[in-house]
């Protein structure tokens, strides 16, 4: 028994010793490569790797090559905690990209804060992340902004009464709360409100319940998978309404899955112009590295996060977390990435303007 434990520990350290080679500048990433968020995790990883490749092609950081050490978190908070502990202690990395999904992110926040490790998020939107601490940054705007965005969209389209449905997880609930407050404050009415469970294949009862309220518009704050299933099944059941959605379902995959049922959906998303040189060069690089693959959800944010990190590492006076943190704040000021202005405010949040998207002729386009 004892022998077993000690030999395992010995092996652990033996292997880890040779892990980060000299001459590398490494950062860590806790990424959902498996589990229920793996659908997204792979895309995040590809986007990050794309950015890393470009950084290395441009000569790396201070002459060293740049490397991202990925740790899988199995899409759970337990996995996230294990992964970040490993990255901090074994790999001794001063900067870590945090896990997707706000609940997993919130689980690692205190650890990063306690260890004074810079933690970056590219897609975790929960409003409470702003309060995580001074070492936590995100290149993705908080829910607060997005909820307001959807409420404004609904109003601007002239809908006074809507049915609200949202995916029953941290992200969906948080977003729905903001939307509700904003929408009702502006005189809107929510006829019925129903969460739908994450990851199911049959939402017909939920749709029926929405249908029984005869709404003109349904605000559906959900992910791709759930969103596509709902759109498809609603179409089959003859529910014809205006669907209003958030940013998490803005993906070509939604159209793949839901087909013509997705036609006419309108949604909001943290906007960034696709006409900027930054975006175009990202798009070109993506197509070169991953030919035939569509750009993943939040891929641009992950890309920006890595690019911004590289800039900070380059300008940081040392490789300590505190210096990186300082540098990050400094280089972010006025930094225009693929997804727009990434200047961090005092909470480590970025601002964003919300655009509107729609699906027309099987393609995502801007709604005007």
């Amino acid at each position: 028994m004892k022998k077993f434990v000690f030999s395992t520990i010995a092996i652990l350290f033996l292997i880890s010793a040779g892990r980060v080679t000299a001459g590398d500048i490494s950062v860590g990433s806790v990424t959902p490569l498996t589990g229920k968020l793996a659908v997204y995790g792979e895309g995040f990883q590809q986007a990050m790797l794309l950015a890393a490749d470009e950084i290395n092609a441009a000569g790396g950081i201070k002459g060293n090559s740049f490397k991202i050490v990925f740790e899988d978190n199995n899409s759970t908070s337990k996995g996230s905690v294990s992964a970040i502990r490993k990255l901090i202690t074994i790999d001794k990395l001063p900067l870590i990209f945090g896990p997707a999904s706000s609940s997993n992110f919130l689980a690692v926040c205190p650890i990063a804060e306690d260890n004074k490790i810079v933690l970056l998020a590219a897609e975790s939107a929960a409003a409470s992340i702003s309060k995580c601490g001074s070492y936590v940054f995100r290149v993705f705007p908080s829910d607060l902004l997005q909820g307001v965005g959807v409420a404004e969209l609904t109003k601007s389209l002239g809908y006074k009464e809507v049915v609200l449905t949202y995916v029953n997880n941290d992200w969906g609930v948080g977003l729905a709360e903001v939307f509700k407050t904003e929408f009702t404050a502006a005189g809107g009415k929510i006829i019925d409100e129903l969460p739908h469970a994450e990851g199911k294949t049959d939402y017909r009862s939920e749709i029926l319940r929405m249908k029984s309220q005869h709404p003109k518009a349904i605000v559906n704050l959900t992910y791709i998978k759930e969103g596509a299933t709902i759109l498809k099944q609603a179409y089959e059941m003859g529910l014809k309404v205006q669907w209003l959605m958030g940013s998490a379902s803005k993906s070509a995959k939604l159209i793949d899955l839901a087909g013509k049922a997705s036609e006419g959906v309108i949604g909001t998303y943290p906007t960034f112009s696709q006409e900027t040189p930054q975006y175009k060069s990202f798009k070109a690089a993506w197509e070169k590295k991953y030919p035939g693959k569509k750009t993943p959800v939040f891929g641009e944010y992950n890309y920006d996060m890595v690019k911004l990190t590289a800039l900070a590492l380059e300008s940081a006076s040392s490789n300590s977390s505190d210096d990186i943190r300082e540098a990050l704040l400094k280089v972010s000021k006025g930094y225009i990435g693929t997804t727009g202005d990434k200047s961090f405010d005092e909470n480590g949040d970025v601002n964003a303007s919300y655009g509107q998207w729609t699906i027309k002729d099987g393609k995502i386009s801007d709604y005007k």
Binding site: M1, L33, Q45, F70, S77, G174
Partner: protein, 296 residues
């Protein structure tokens, strides 16, 4: 070192959890597939109470008590059911508890989870707290081990085994099997609650997705691998599984293949379960057959 502390803490918490299930599954032969519910109840109760200002030791004790009471709540109606039926009832019970965590948003904050769960001041929250935390968790695991050892080596433990081997015989010998099994479940649930309490205050953030059937399967694996119905079995099982899971992180795998790691790991776990049942159902350590099992 922090990482090692972390793994040890997790492994110790799981060893408590595994030991508590072993009392039911290994010693009493109760197929409880809903054991994670009590882990969750312990974690949530202690977290909610301490967040609302109850001193942590008090919150922890109440949480352990609540997990035990919840155990009685499960046991009283379901123990009349025979083996497989009981298994399903417990599975369903755990799913219901999970749904309550998820949907009773006014109490549990639902899927948002409970962040910033406090720790006692003398432990603190910083990195320096890890060795102390490890000491606390080790103490809890040791106490669990000793208490469960006393319980299972006693005439009570023997009657648990009598029930496991043949419930009709137990009844014919005048044992109130219902009461004894209820006691086993209440005790097991309380210790699962203890594991949950430790978990909540260690991770400091809990959400319903931490308490799913997946975890029950993991802890089942710990028991089966180590040896069910033994004292050291679940402990060894928990350490093996947790260390194995962490060990995989250190196998250098090119990033394009990392997506295969977890499925392969899952397949290995499944394979181990099957092979253990085929080749060595008693686990790494086998329960001593015969001999004298009591020394109380």
């Amino acid at each position: 070192m922090d990482y090692l502390y972390h793994i040890l803490i997790i492994a110790l918490i799981y060893s408590i959890f595994a030991q508590s299930l072993n009392l039911e599954l290994g010693f009493t032969g109760l197929y409880n597939f809903g054991h994670i519910a009590f882990f969750g109840i312990g974690a949530y109760a202690s977290a909610l109470l301490s967040l609302s200002g109850v001193p942590i030791p008090v919150a922890a004790l109440i949480a352990i008590g609540l997990a035990g009471i919840a155990g009685a709540f499960l046991a009283l109606p379901t123990l009349r059911l025979s083996g497989d039926y009981f298994g399903i009832a417990t599975l369903v019970f755990a799913e219901m508890v999970h749904l309550l965590f998820l949907n009773e948003r006014d109490i549990t904050r639902g899927p948002m989870g409970l962040p910033n769960i406090p720790r006692p001041d003398w432990i603190g929250t910083g990195v320096t707290s890890l060795p102390l935390l490890l000491a606390v968790v080790f103490f809890a695991a040791a106490v669990t081990f000793i208490l469960l050892r006393i319980i299972t080596n006693s005439p009570f433990g023997r009657s648990l085994k009598v029930i496991r081997e043949d419930e009709f015989v137990a009844q014919a010998l005048g044992k109130n099997t219902f009461l004894i099994k209820t006691k086993a479940i209440v005790t097991g649930s309380a210790f699962a609650g203890l594991a949950g309490v430790l978990w909540a205050h260690y991770i400091t953030y809990i959400s319903p997705s931490d308490f799913t059937l997946q975890e029950t399967i993991l802890v089942l694996l710990c028991i089966v691998l180590g040896g069910k119905g033994t004292h050291w079995g679940p402990v060894i099982g928990a350490f093996s599984i947790i260390f194995f899971a962490e060990f995989i992180r250190f196998i250098p795998i090119p990033s394009e293949y990392t997506r295969f790691v977890a499925p392969l790991q899952g397949m290995i776990y499944g394979f181990i379960l099957v092979i253990m049942m085929l080749k060595r159902p008693q686990g790494l350590i086998s329960e001593s057959r015969g001999q004298r099992t009591t020394n109380a």
